[in-house]
Amino acid sequence: MRFRDDLELRRRVAEEAARAGGVVHRKYRGKKLARTIHDGERADYATQVDFEAQEAVREVVARHFPHERVIGEEDENFDDIAEEMERGCWFTDPLDGTQEFVHGAPGYSCIVVYVEHGAPQACAAYFDAWGEMFSAADGLGSTLNGAPIRVSGQQELSGAVFSTAYRGTEVAKAQGFAARFVKLVPHVEGFRMPGAPSVMACGVAAGRYDLYVYLSARLEPPPARPFVGQPWETAAFILLVREAGGAVQPLRGEGDYDVLGHNIYAASPLLIEQFRAVMGDM
């Protein structure tokens, strides 16, 4: 646990950096962009905006913490990530919701988070098109545009609004997703796929959704990566949801949460229990 003043400062820096990413988003909004495909998957790509926003985040962090490393989704070498997370490092997903962005939809954000001792300490997610700044710091709560937010507190799966996302072009993957949809959907009140992960995680933190879980989470890491998850967004989501009074559990395995893997984000621990009872091992 860090000192309160330090956490407050890091939260402000995360906000400032996320806003700087948002300035880059605005500059390119509505413009035609070339795509860099990730792992040969045509639905997964980055653009010049991702790279430029990542640089904007780095500049802000470097101004306040010149000796600290900023690890971005668009980086290529993640070999020492566990050590970095222990020692203290920043993560950024400079443009979460690239697909929304290139389609001119408003649901995209810039995410910045500081991790130390393997745990998220302070973070921000900024949605430029909506003017929504979510932030959180360990023990200090979650806010939306400065006002405290709370999860819905929903306790019953049958009254819950579930949110998830899907990306991919393989038929087998779509079949797996569809099978889980059939299993789950009779047990929930609403099933939503609003787009970017940050829309869902911030949505759970703000009480807009009750649950957020991937139904087709990777089991194996992608090529040249030592982990299956997306720590540049996951670390922020864990903090935002927990600090808003919500519950987080690793989708697979032990521990309070898994920064390098997939998690279940929920308005209450009871929802996670009921979700697992319906879905079994995933």
Binding site: V182, G190, R192
Partner: protein, 279 residues
């Protein structure tokens, strides 16, 4: 076609949709009661009822002799079916009631005027994001006053596909899943929002490329059947606004849009045809 009259109808539709949106926001997040309708996930609140009254008040102030039929009226479907030839206003005073009750962002009011089976003016207001979509026949579509156009996308493999789902039974879920398995691998992105109005308006605004309803079990052509129950209090607005934004709208057989049935809303005719061919 009377452009001046349709322009006035559009302005009245906008005012009425805004009045309904003001009712939504008065009750937003206040934890109001729900009354279940036909099945567990279909319910009405006093926000629906008061928003409908607000829509009717606005229209009555400008067109006191016009008929207004809302989703919450008795026998709304049959009354609309009997009046879309002679002329009537139709409204879904709160589309996305679940989204509204769960303090989500995507709920809206929908108002349109229909005559000779043809939508002539319409507005959709999403009060949480303060977005007002409207159109008048032949006069274009706007979002908060600025003209909007569909994306023009014509390739399914890169298209952002929007689906909506309100199936109450496991059987329906299974049919929906079959459709998902077929479509998901063929498109660029798949989204499901909590309000059908938002699904249609994202296509009109060029933010998504195609919106199609889910298929229905009881049909000879399983993947092209009539899905769920028709929503004629909202459909005319979607048809008009997407068409006026340059998009293509057709029924599930690729023919002219049906105000009393289901339609596919697309950024272009080529995209719509490619999707129908996939099914």
């Amino acid at each position: 076609m009377d452009d001046a009259l349709n322009s006035k109808r559009r302005a009245v539709a906008e005012e009425a949709a805004r009045a309904a949106g003001a009712v939504h926001m008065r009750y937003y997040g206040t934890g109001i009661d729900r009354v279940t309708k036909a099945w567990r996930r279909d319910f009405v609140t006093k926000a629906d009822l008061e928003a409908q009254a607000a829509v009717k008040d606005v229209i009555a102030a400008h067109f006191p002799h016009d008929l207004v039929i809302g989703e919450e009226d008795e026998d709304a479907f049959n009354r609309i079916a009997a009046s879309i030839e002679t002329g009537c206003w139709v409204t879904d005073p709160l589309d996305g009631t679940a989204e509204f009750l769960h303090t989500g962002a995507f709920f809206s009011s929908v108002v349109s005027y229909v005559e000779r089976n043809f939508p002539l003016a319409a507005a959709v207001h999403a009060p949480f994001t303060d977005e007002l979509y409207s159109a008048a026949r032949g006069l274009g579509a706007t979002l908060n006053g600025a003209p909007i156009r569909t994306s023009g996308a014509d390739a399914l493999e890169d298209a952002m596909f929007v689906a909506s789902y309100t199936a109450p039974t496991p059987e329906r879920a299974a049919w929906f899943a079959r459709w998902m398995e077929r479509v998901m691998p063929a498109v660029g992105g798949w989204r499901m929002f909590g309000s059908s109005a938002l699904c249609a308006m994202t296509v009109a605004a060029g933010r998504a490329d195609i919106y199609s309803p889910a298929p229905e079990p009881m049909t000879a052509q399983p993947l092209l059947g009539q899905p769920q129950k028709p929503q004629p209090w909202e459909t005319p607005a979607y048809v008009l606004i997407v068409e006026e934004a340059g998009g293509a709208v057709a029924n599930i057989h690729g023919n002219a849009p049906e105000l009393l049935g289901f339609n596919i809303y697309s950024a272009s005719r080529a995209l719509l045809d490619e999707y129908l061919a996939l099914l």
